[in-house]
Amino acid sequence: MTIEINFFILIALYVCGAVGALLFRKNDQIANWWSGIMAIIGSLWGIVFAINSFLHYSKNIFTYDYSVFPLLNLSFHIDQLSAFFIFIISLIALFCSIYGIDYAKHFYKKYDLGVLGFFYHLFIAGMLLVVSATNGLLFLIAWEIMAVASYFLVVYDRENKNNIDAGFLYLIMTHVGTAFIVLAFLIMYVFAGSFDFTAIKAGLVLMPDFFKNTIFVLALIGFGTKAGIIPVHIWLPSAHPAAPSHISALMSGVMIKTGIYMMIRIFFDMFSSIPLWWGIVVLIVGATSALLGVLYALTEHDLKRLLAYHSIENIGIILLGLGSSLIFYSLGNLTLAIFSLAAALFHILNHAVFKALLFLSAGSVISQTHTRNIEKYGGLIKYMPLTAFFFLIGSVAISGLPPFNGFFSEWMTFQSLLQGIASTDIFIKLIFVLAAGSLALTGGLALVCFVKVFGATFLARPRSEIVKQAKESSILFSLSMGALATICLIFGIASGYFGILLTKISASLNIFQNATLFFNESINGSLITPNGSATVSAPLWFIVFALILILVIFWVKFLINKNQIIKIGATWDCGINLNERMEITATGFSRSIVTIFSHILRPSIQHEVEYNDSEMRFLHKSKIVRLEIHDVYQTYFYQPIHKLISILSSKAKSIQSGNINIYILYILITLIFILFLL
């Protein structure tokens, strides 16, 4: 009983915070601190709740059912998977809230802080409800709370017109996604006779294949819209930058994962048989999202848009794990399916941590420089050393380099793909080869992208005056970023432990109830593949690396040539005064990659030259070069749809004559039609 009460206290804390923030809205300061502290208490409570659930409960933690209306039951069910997501949400929310207290100070006297607090709390509460609801209608309500609250957070900085547009796009896209989800639930309702997940689970067994496949496609598109898979990703790069940074961190780190959560919930918990092609589709979607996401990120020079594209990339990597898990399940290899799902879950956790870290550091850079354009930065490491250090850790982690957490989840994904390559079916083998190739390429390109971001933002000399006014961010900023950076390292080093924990969580899902689990006990804290074919020990690597590093530094610095003098001089410039325009820019850095992938990215160059003399076209007075990336999705996907809808609606318009008699006729015809039907 107590655990249920704990859960409701968790929700109540957020509701309390939301209402309180509205009550205190007259005073900016009180409203801000109230919402910040309530969110911190709430998220701490959530973390304790989730950890407690892991420690003391094996599979199902609790189920609560209370009937309000015939179809809408207030039914909650917390199992290991939900607890895991509650943990992620609370963990990221904790640091975003600490960060948000300081960040929201920008908005004093400008916007209503009470409203910010209200929607912030509602947003987190909505996400918590999404991962715990087990009734279709309740779920949809929670989903809408989450979507609408985040919409208001996106348009919070409403003086910028771009933000309003971005919010509008987000609102449309998220509801298009919701439409697919509603359709999926309605089909389930038809067969199950109830919106309750348990009833649906029973009903799905008897469902014909056609409808199962329809549900799969609808869910993939619907939840994929939230998760940001390509090509339904377009809201993501515009909505994330528009929101305040701590909100972007929550949206990118956690909210898009709720889409993945529901995919896991539906595919792995409700269905009991999975055709092979589902997994292949998910794998292909994942591979393309990962590769295209990172390619588009490379073309960006807006710091937050770039990070948003990286979210798409990482969702792709998560889907690679998910897809291979589905394939392994349909091939009957349950152990590998569990392992691949654990890889996906681990990447969900890791991506949440380092993406939140990156968004928070980006926010602290933006709050100092007031621009998101990377080309205007440069040399920030001297003005904001701590932020730079944390951003570096985030970059190393997201690029999948050891010893940080990103590497280990990518390692697990790679291992499951390798196991897929080992399969005997040549078709499946090739699919997995392509997936592994795209993952390898994605990893390499992500590395390029983060060298570009870190180099252009923090290194070399300032490229504009605004950088020189930047100061190190406040204590609360540094505290939350530092904590997340530490977590990146800890999760990396504790990867062996997480491997086992996440395997247990994935194994607790309904679909794996018949699986005989075997765990490889972790030696030296190492991650192990299920058949023991590969091991990697993070703590040992870290210790050996640290030892070698210390030895090398000690040896080189203190044993060889102790009297060496280090002179600080100018950068060698061949005699030409270096200025900030000679440094490589973010656009220049990724230019070669853009050229190489020009078939996919479709870059365009426009020259505008003004001549000194219109007769003698030799001497340029000024020259403007515009580099653009052609928006393929706009032209080939969204515009045709838009055109089609416009044509259809103009056709439909013709029945609207404005004459009231005609309308009465329509009503009459409809009535007769319905009478016939009945």
Binding site: V433, S526, F589, S592
Partner: protein, 307 residues
């Protein structure tokens, strides 16, 4: 006893690596009808640089200052994680092939950052080119290793080498294809022809050299040494993972001696091939390099489907 072998493995790569850079240079010199520098020249260069003073740019941050140590340490730990002369030293903790690939990528990451740090025009484009090449090489690198990993049924490099089943007729073709794929990656990652000219002084053709133009003294020595280590690590990988002949399977000195001699022999052959390629081939235009790297990827993919 085992401790002794591990200690030997620890110092083996940094100790021997400059030698093979010297060997390649010597082979190239011979093919140019020159006598060329001594094969131990690189040791002398390194030791001299270690004892010189340094000039560090005033624009440089701690990234520039600490990067050489990180890059060097990365190559040392990678040297520990690969089978050099003995496969019985099973390193199941860091000896995973993906771990080695990504550990080396960590070095590239910091090298590229260090190149950008001083704000010199050379460093920036050097980093850009290096990252472009290494990003595209990643696919072929990992897939060519996957070929042997699939045959051996493990991704642990030591176990792969211990399995030692490659010279059967069944696996001859896939292994050869994967090796060609790997060899292209080797040329790309270690900055050799046709990707990069290790002896260039020309900004237009620089890749690796452009990033390290700002270094001097000890830090330059460390970076050059790390580059030599990386080259040697790739030689070892090519020699041992694909052709694990002669490697010591038992822990006695005779087997290890043979292992080292055979390794030197194999590495020498690889060096000869590299030297030959550098002498008869021109550097490719930068935007033709992706074709070559994609070839490496495709060769490995074909090799996988042949297994």
């Amino acid at each position: 006893m085992t401790m002794f072998f591990w200690a030997l493995q620890l110092i083996f790569v940094p100790l021997v690596s400059p030698f093979f850079i010297g060997v390649v240079r010597k082979i190239k010199a011979k093919l140019q009808n020159r006598q060329g520098a001594s094969i131990f020249q690189v040791y002398r260069d390194l030791w001299k640089m270690m004892r010189k003073d340094e000039v560090i740019s005033s624009d440089a941050s701690w990234v520039f200052r600490q990067a050489p140590f990180i890059i060097f340490a990365v190559t040392i730990i990678s040297g520990l994680s690969i089978p050099i002369f003995a496969s019985f030293l099973v390193n199941s903790l860091t000896g995973d092939l993906l771990m080695v690939v990504y550990t080396l990528a960590l070095g590239t990451f910091f090298l590229a950052l260090a190149g950008m740090d001083t704000g010199s025009a050379f460093g920036g484009f050097g980093s850009s080119r290096e990252m472009t090449i290494s990003a595209l090489a990643e696919g072929g690198f990992i897939l060519s290793f996957f070929v042997v990993a699939l045959i051996a049924g493990t991704t642990n490099l030591f176990t792969i080498v211990e399995t030692n089943i490659f010279l059967t007729a069944k696996f001859f073709l896939p292994i050869t294809l994967a090796f060609i794929g790997f060899f292209i990656v080797l040329l790309a990652e270690t900055g050799r022809f046709p990707f990069d000219n290790p002896a260039t002084h020309l900004e237009l053709t620089m890749v690796h050299e452009a990033m390290i133009l700002e270094y001097s003294g000890k830090r330059l020595a460390l970076i050059e040494w790390a580059a030599a280590n990386k080259f040697f690590i790739f030689l070892i990988l090519g020699a041992n993972i694909f052709f694990p002949v002669g490697i010591a399977q038992t822990a006695d000195f005779k087997a290890i001696f043979i292992g080292i001699v055979v390794l030197f022999f194999k590495a020498f052959i690889l060096c000869a091939i590299i030297g030959l390629i550098e002498s008869v081939m021109a550097k490719f235009r930068f935007f033709r390099l992706p074709d070559l790297l994609i070839t490496s990827f495709i060769l490995s993919a074909i090799a996988i489907s042949l297994i």
